[in-house]
């Protein structure tokens, strides 16, 4: 099934350039709900797939953008390794390219790092139809600007990602989860208190008045942290974290708009109506609220962060608006990569 479609993708981009036709880049289509709708010719990257290089002792994997995340996870699992940022899939067809373009990270984010933290290098096609390679397969590389990390989370608006190299991590030797009942205020306090101690925590979540903690590491370390943190053992631990990550948990059911608030972890509970779940030690907060979008954004900004309308709602503005000077810089950088504005126009912001 491995296939190198680089030449085809390049030709498609060049063709689109001559026709001045905007492109809607897609992988497995699992994250099309995220961001704004894009009008454009579909550019399908899913066929461009295959693991190009995997060196477990170098802690590096390189794969084509269309490679399914499931395939990557399986290959890593076989060698007792994993993606440190524990990305959400949002569907079996999720591809590596789409995951990196959306820059999404899962439960481990606050403790191991985000998608961009694990990106070591990338091949991409820019808006001049050129195939470029930045970064590489080594852990440290400061030659040239860090374009690979800039592309991560840019929602495909700067170029077509064709290949990605990621740092990978060994599976922790042992892992278990604990749960305790508490209020949201106590949850925020406890999560932040634990984070200020050297404990082997790899995930935290507050949902439905219960606070979940996952411990990962050497067996002895996990055992002693368990005594420190207390609570009951979660019997279906992997399922719980997967349900949160994939948004299959009951919290995510129903039609109320789903907001993602990214705040300083110790920020107090936000004064907005609706159910709230916390992850990442308090730094990521999910909110089911019908509050008016400007109000949600105002509250998030006042707490020192920002808000994304993740699913639902009828606002066309999905990501947090940018202040003027920063927006101008975004436009110039967009221009630098995609002078004709053909890649996913408007996917992030209406302005570019």
């Amino acid at each position: 099934m491995d296939k190198d479609l680089t030449a085809k993708l390049e030709a498609h981009v060049r063709g689109a350039l001559t026709r001045s036709a905007p492109l809607r880049i897609s992988g497995g289509g699992t994250k099309s709900f995220l961001g704004r709708a894009v009008e454009g010719e579909p550019l399908d990257v899913a066929g461009h797939r295959g693991i190009v290089n995997y060196q477990p002792t170098e802690l590096v994997i390189t794969a084509r953008a269309g490679t399914p995340l499931l395939e990557i996870n399986a290959a890593l699992h076989e060698r007792n390794q994993m993606l440190g940022f524990e990305p959400p899939h949002f569907g079996d067809n999720a591809t590596l390219g789409g995951t990196i373009a959306c820059g999404l990270s899962g439960p481990r984010r606050a403790y191991a790092g985000a998608a961009r933290d694990f990106v070591l290098g990338m091949k991409l096609i820019n808006g001049r139809g050129e195939l470029l390679h930045f970064g590489g397969e080594v852990m440290k590389n400061v030659a040239g600007y860090d374009v690979s990390r800039l592309m991560t989370g840019a929602m495909g608006t700067l170029g077509v990602i064709t290949e990605v190299s990621l740092k990978v991590l060994p599976h922790p030797a042992s892992e278990l989860s604990l749960v305790q009942a508490c209020s949201i205020d106590d949850a925020i306090t406890r999560m932040n208190l634990w984070a200020s101690r050297p404990l082997p925590i790899s995930a935290t979540c507050f949902v439905g008045n219960r606070l979940y903690v996952r411990l990962s590491g050497a067996e002895t370390a996990v055992a002693s942290a368990r005594r420190h943190i207390g609570g009951e053992l979660v019997t279906d631990s992997p399922d719980f974290w997967e349900a949160m990550r994939e948004q299959h948990h009951d919290f995510f059911a129903g039609a109320a708009p789903l907001w993602r608030l990214s705040l300083p972890p110790a920020a107090a509970r936000v004064p907005l109506s609706g159910a709230c779940a916390l992850e990442w030690g308090g730094a990521q907060r999910w909110l089911r609220t019908d509050a008016a979008p400007p109000e949600v954004r105002r509250v998030a900004a006042a707490a020192g962060g920002h808000a994304v309308l993740f699913r639902g709602g009828d606002s066309d503005e999905r990501f947090h608006p940018l202040p003027g000077a920063l927006l101008a810089l975004h436009r110039r950088v967009k221009q630098a990569f995609d002078p004709k504005g053909i890649f996913n126009p408007g996917r992030m912001y209406a302005e570019f």
């Binding site: 170098e58 606050a110 080594v138 400061v142 040239g144 932040n192 050297p198 082997p200 810089l329 110039r332």
Partner: protein
Amino acid sequence: MSSEGQSKAEHGYTGELAVLLTALRAILPSDSVLWEEEDLRPYECDGLSAYRRLPLIVVLPDTIDQVQAVMRLCHQRKVPVVARGAGTGLSGGALPHSQGVLLSLAKFKSIIDIDARNRTARVQPGVRNLAISQAAAPLGLYYAPDPSSQIACTIGGNVAENSGGVHCLKYGLTVHNILQLQIISADGELLTLGGAALDSPGYDFLALFTGSEGMLGIIVEVTVKLLPLPERAQVVLAAFDDVVKAGGAVGEIIAAGIIPAGLEMMDKLAIRAAEDFVHAGYPLEAEAILLCEVDGTNEEVSEHILKIHDIMQNCGAIEVRTAKDEQERALFWKGRKAAFPAVGRLAPDYYCMDGTIPRQHLPEVLRRIGELSREYDLPVANVFHAGDGNLHPLILYDANKPGELQRTEEFGGKILELCVAVGGTITGEHGVGMEKIDQMCTQFQPDELRQFHAVKDAFDPAGILNPGKAVPTLHRCAEFGAMHVHQGRVPFPELDRF
């Protein structure tokens, strides 16, 4: 007439100097504007002292408003601006521009705020790396990236170079440990990149800016993440009679699922030099030593130390020692952290290289460096961040011997090209600066360099920030290519040769 006057006249800049001086003095207190040669001298180079140049003027602002005013003025008059932290950089990044302003951030040295609850520190760019950890220590917190120069280098310089340290294998580089930057753009605007949360809306300019070597803006404030001090840290010293065996042990430790906090290697010459200098108790008969540190909870450390001990032995170590107490641990590290100055005592000058390679190629690369060392008749000591394949070959030379510096640079260039050839990079943490500008032509294709220039233009259309550094012009590469035909292939065949 002073030589200063002459050199300024040479640049045809005497008139401009007077105008600039007047304008700068209207913005800054007069003792914050330096222009006489004796005052400029301390700024003529950074840690790469082979490259020296006097700036036209040095300014030492101490408020953000002043930095903005300086930038607006320089932008309007198209005067080059080079930012400078502590000047410990090793690639000539802070080398002044002879017709420009050197903007020192030395006066920005206050720690604005430490937020214990959110575990962050907001600091000015001139704060020394180590000072942050010292200030956070009473709260049981620290700032993880620890370049060997940490007692001197500034956090602004760290961000500009994306600096690493011996602990970045586990805790990451600067880019992984910062949350927010306040920058002044080339035209004097104050911008916030990143934020107080773990991510921020829009493009990841925080990452793009990290490691951009003063080319995209002036950093005037940095918010860093702080981590809890580990309960315990312990280091194992293993000696090998063969560098290849030591390299093998590195791979085995990683394969065992352990990510050490630090994993460093030194070769025989470096061991000798360090031992003479700080008496760390290193085994002098070894061809290579590994320093492997693990940290975490008490139990975790004990468990890992046992495993590492076994691995080292199985990989053929002739001696394995665990630091018996905190004092010995500090001593083992002292030798490593002082390796550069220690090696510096072996010869009048040394030249520090900074390539990174996939670790599996270590034996081959070391063998080839040895051959080149004989070919160029220049000794090399190897010190490196073995865990992440970041090599620091230190070439020993004497700048006063005619032709030796040139031979050294050529040798260094060969090492970097070798790193690229095995799939690595010309710089792991010290940056391109002035020094590796030609090797950028080996690492990148013209289209990629053009993309870098486009990024630069987006931030600094007038090209006043650190001109001539970090990214070579295509013409420079064409010239360089004419001298060095890479792997039998002429780079940039489409460009005119001259």
